[in-house]
Structures are given as structure tokens and as C-alpha cells.
């Protein structure tokens, strides 16, 4: 026996042109899989962003509130490179993280470094202020309305997956973010530089006493984290518009994800990023009214039951 579409799926019949609807928990499977995929795409951004935050927090113990602004800067650098110099998407995908990474290095070198000896709260306040300044600056020049960024030719168009129409670019976002997450994870878990980072996260003084230039490592790490945010930003540019406030809309969710994953846990940030993205997507299917808060509800529960986070080590 087939049910007709519920009211909010009224469009589905014309969209997919089917007569028989396969149901999953009382939801058409097409809607279910479609939202699963959209959740995965959002999760891709969450994962890359929370990964950067986790790396920075792990080593620097700074809660980088400028992360959203750095994400926005990544998108803007791509946009400006295109409109000023005609630099295409692929080159921008490389250049935007480098440019924003360098500004991150400058921020660490000249400002954040001076705050390490103070309470961690100062790092948070500084980066929060910095985010407001950066976003305010961009808003002054570009206003709050978004600037469009064209999808690169190679990735435009879409494929019909049977259960949904997938724009190729969004599929690319999932693949690219997976590559970046796995690459970063391998860098941290499997290389010598990664061993320095892990060791310095545990005991920076001792690592420095071994002859390793830990202050330089901190600078590099902040640059890497900012670069990751910028990478997410330039990837987001063709999907969302390039706007000065695009980061501040997203960053609070990403903070919640880092808390759920466990502050400073690399694997936790990646897995939780994808997981909560998907969960948020599925909530849109089952109970759309809750989709904006589901991540925060999870965060509250995790904080109560397991304060160190799902992947965090107990302190």
C-alpha cells in the first residue's frame, strides 16, 4: 500500500515523476537519500572547518574565533583573484589557503604569541575581536549582499542519481574535503612533522628542550588551521554566495561540532563533522523544525554525559 506524499513533499511527485513511493520510516526514500547527501555536503564543510579549529586548539590552546572570518576570507580571496586578475577556480583553490595561511602566520607571530602566557580567555577574546574587525572591514567595502562566484566549467552541470539530481560541483566538494581531511590526518598521524605536533600538544616545553623550534611550530600550525578554513571558504564560494557574514553564520555550528568531537581531537573533529552534517540533513526529513538546533541538542547531551567529547581523552 502506498501513501501519498505528505504536504511538505507535495513537490516530490512532480520532481521525480514517480507513482510508487518507497517509504523509509514513513518518508519517501528519495527524500531520505537526497537529504542524506545534502547532509554529507554540509558535513564536508563542517569537517574541514572543525579540523582546522581542532588543530589550532590542540597545540596553541587558543579557541580561534577568527576561524569563520578566515573561511570568509578564503572565499573573498578567490572572488577577488578572479575579478581582479582573472585567476580561475583551480588556481584559487591553491592560492586562497596560502594567502589566508600567510595572514594567519602574521597574526600568530605578531599578536597571538604575546597572549600564550595569559589566561586562554585572552586568546578567545582577541580572535573574537579580530573576527569582528575583519568582517566589518569586508562589510565596509562589499556590503552584506553576496557576490556570486561561478561554478568552474569542468564541474558545472549535474548527474541524475535516480533518487536525486546531484550537481557535480557538490559531489566534488565531498570528494575534495575527504581528500583534505585524510591528507591532514595522515600528515599529523604518520609523518615526523606530525609527531612533533602531537608531542608538542602534550608537552611543549619538553619537546622544545629536545631542540625542536616549538614557537615556529605554533606559528606554522596557526597558518595551517587558517589555510584549512580558507580552503573550505573557496570551496563554498560557488555554492553559497561570497559575503562578509558567511563565516559568522557557520562558525557557531562548527564550534558545537568541535565540542562534540572532543576539543583538540583531530579524528573526532573530522568524524563528528560528517556525522553531524548528515544528522542535520536527516533531521530536515523527519522533523524539519528541529534541524537548526539538533547539533546544539547533541552538544548539550554530550557535554552532560561525556564532557571530554566523543573522541576526546578524559582530562
Amino acid at each position: 500500500m502506498f501513501r501519498t506524499c505528505p504536504r511538505r513533499w507535495a513537490r516530490c511527485k512532480t520532481l521525480w515523476g514517480y507513482d510508487a513511493v518507497i517509504m523509509i520510516f514513513g518518508i519517501p526514500i528519495q527524500a531520505f537519500l537526497g537529504q542524506l547527501l545534502i547532509g554529507l555536503i554540509n558535513g564536508s564543510f563542517y569537517a574541514v572547518l572543525s579540523l582546522g579549529l581542532a588543530i589550532i586548539f590542540g597545540l596553541l590552546r587558543v579557541i580561534n574565533f577568527a576561524h569563520g572570518a578566515q573561511y570568509m576570507m578564503g572565499a573573498f580571496v578567490g572572488f577577488l583573484l578572479l575579478s581582479w586578475f582573472g585567476v580561475n577556480y583551480w588556481l584559487a583553490l591553491l592560492l586562497a589557503p596560502v594567502v589566508v595561511g600567510i595572514t594567519g602566520i602574521a597574526i600568530e607571530r605578531f599578536a597571538l604569541r604575546r597572549l600564550y602566557n595569559l589566561d586562554h580567555l585572552y586568546g578567545l577574546l582577541f580572535t573574537f575581536g579580530l573576527a569582528l574587525v575583519i568582517e566589518g572591514g569586508f562589510r565596509y567595502f562589499y556590503g552584506t549582499s553576496g557576490q556570486p562566484y561561478e561554478t568552474p566549467k569542468l564541474l558545472s552541470g549535474g548527474v541524475n542519481l535516480g533518487f536525486m539530481y546531484l550537481p557535480i560541483y557538490r559531489g566534488w566538494v565531498v570528494v575534495a574535503s575527504l581528500i583534505v581531511c585524510i591528507g591532514t590526518w595522515l600528515l599529523i598521524e604518520k609523518t615526523k612533522l606530525g609527531a612533533y605536533l602531537r608531542a608538542a600538544t602534550e608537552n611543549p616545553k619538553l619537546v622544545q628542550s629536545f631542540g625542536i623550534n616549538v614557537p615556529f611550530l605554533l606559528t606554522l600550525t596557526y597558518g595551517l588551521g587558517a589555510g584549512l578554513a580558507a580552503f573550505a571558504g573557496i570551496m563554498a564560494a560557488p555554492i553559497y554566495q561570497v559575503s562578509p557574514l558567511m563565516g559568522s553564520n557557520l562558525i557557531i555550528v562548527v564550534f558545537a561540532i568541535v565540542v562534540v568531537g572532543g576539543m583538540g581531537s583531530i579524528m573526532g573533529a573530522i568524524v563528528t563533522g560528517y556525522m553531524l552534517g548528515i544528522l542535520e540533513g536527516l533531521t530536515k526529513v523527519f522533523y524539519p523544525e528541529a534541524s537548526n538546533i539538533v547539533i546544539f541538542v547533541i552538544m548539550a547531551i554530550v557535554l552532560l554525559v561525556r564532557p571530554a567529547g566523543l573522541f576526546g581523552r578524559d582530562v
Binding site: A195, Y196, R198, A199, K205, L206, S209, F210
Partner: protein
């Protein structure tokens, strides 16, 4: 003894933890190839002396010369490059690194260091467990690992903080053998040790610390006649 070349010379070393003044002018010398032990009761500044020499403790004044180089105004990561390796009391084995990663972590500072094969010959346990998580090792193995990773780097001098603390007698004996081997290879060692029996077997010279100062220094040959004062000042 005096004909041996001076490697480490500390003069008038003062050091502070925040506002508390811990070292009040420490003077000590260590010559090449010597093993020198700092003795003293708890809280007299032995560990602080090592941390101040290493530069982990930054709030310090005085003079520290090592192998002809002034160490006072250098950043922490230059001390190891000058040729000093520090093995902390808590051993400092990293939980997020495997045994082998722990071993390979400190950068090599000179070619005179041991090869990984030599280290595994000296510490067969570490070879067996090289893929384990660093902190899954027993206390004794962690101590061995903490020493082993410094030997790979080719440092000229080791600062060892209580290497036998909390370890079973058979492990303490093993650590004694390792230190003996190192001495034979010409390693210079500055040792902080509560286990006086252990220290008396491997040290060439002793300094006694009291309230942040070195109050006395003597050779191992003078040990029998010093036993009386030692018993008073250390309670050994």
C-alpha cells in the same frame, strides 16, 4: 680529575618559579666524561637546577657555560643543539606517539650519537614493543625509553632527574648498568638522585645542595669520611 677539560660550568645561578626564589647562587662544574650527582633533601633545588641549566625554567640569572658556549641568552631549543639532553623526573613519554616515534622524536644534534640498532641492542625491550603506545610501557621501560631517545641525538651531556624513582630493584640495577655503559663510552652525566646507594656506585663526584645553594662538593674517594656529614644533612 683537574686535568680533564671542563664541560659545564655554572656560576651564581639564581632561579625563580613565578615569585618564589628557588636557587640562590648555585656554583658547579662538570668535566668531560664525569658523572656528577647532586644530593640533597626534597625541595632543596636539585630538579630546579637541572631545569634552569636546560633553560626550561626561564626566570634565571647567573652564568652557564657549556663547551665554551654561553647558554644564558639562548632560546630553549638551542640548549639541546649545544649538546645537552634532559631526561625529566616524570620521564615525559608521549602518549600519542608510539615507542619508536618517541625514540625518533628528538633531532640528532651530532654524529656521535648511537644508531637505532645499537640502542635496540642496549634496550631489547624497546625493540619488542616499538609499535606500542609510548605510555603503555612499564615505568622501567619508560625510563629506558626516556634515556634511549637522548642517546640517539649525540648529546655530549645528559641531565638525569631521579632515573630510579619508583622502580623495582632489578630495574634500578639495569639502569645502573646502562649508565655504566654510557660512562665507558665517554658520556658526561649530571644526575639528581635520592637513591644514595645507587648514586654512590656510579658517580665520580658529589655536590650537596641545601636551600638553593651548593654547600659542599667532594670526590667518590672521600665518600667514607663524608658519611657522617651526609647522614646529618641527607638523612641517608
Amino acid at each position: 680529575m683537574t686535568d680533564k677539560q671542563l664541560l659545564l660550568s655554572v656560576r651564581g645561578l639564581n632561579a625563580w618559579y613565578d615569585e618564589s626564589h628557588i636557587l640562590h647562587g648555585v656554583d658547579l662544574d662538570v668535566r668531560k666524561g664525569e658523572t656528577v650527582t647532586l644530593l640533597g633533601r626534597n625541595g632543596m633545588g636539585k630538579t630546579t637546577t637541572l631545569r634552569a641549566i636546560m633553560g626550561i625554567l626561564r626566570k634565571r640569572t647567573g652564568e652557564i657555560n657549556f663547551d665554551g658556549q654561553d647558554l644564558m641568552n639562548r632560546p630553549l631549543h638551542h640548549t639541546a643543539r649545544a649538546g645537552i639532553g634532559f631526561v625529566p623526573e616524570e620521564r615525559g613519554i608521549f602518549a600519542t606517539l608510539s615507542v619508536e616515534e618517541n625514540l625518533m622524536l628528538p633531532p640528532v644534534v651530532s654524529k656521535s650519537g648511537m644508531s637505532v640498532e645499537e640502542i635496540y641492542t642496549l634496550f631489547p625491550n624497546l625493540k619488542e614493543r616499538r609499535d606500542s603506545q609510548g605510555t603503555k610501557l612499564s615505568g622501567g621501560e619508560q625510563q629506558m625509553l626516556a634515556m634511549a631517545r637522548m642517546l640517539r641525538t649525540g648529546v655530549k651531556m645528559l641531565l638525569l632527574d631521579e632515573p630510579t624513582e619508583g622502580l623495582a630493584p632489578v630495574i634500578v640495577q639495569r639502569i645502573g648498568e646502562v649508565l655504566q655503559t654510557l660512562k665507558e663510552r665517554g658520556m658526561t652525566i649530571l644526575l639528581v638522585e635520592q637513591n644514595f646507594r645507587f648514586a654512590s656506585k656510579i658517580a665520580d663526584r658529589f655536590y650537596i645542595m641545601d636551600h638553593g645553594m651548593v654547600t659542599e662538593g667532594f670526590d667518590v674517594s672521600d665518600l667514607p669520611e663524608k658519611m657522617g656529614t651526609l647522614q646529618d644533612s641527607l638523612g641517608v
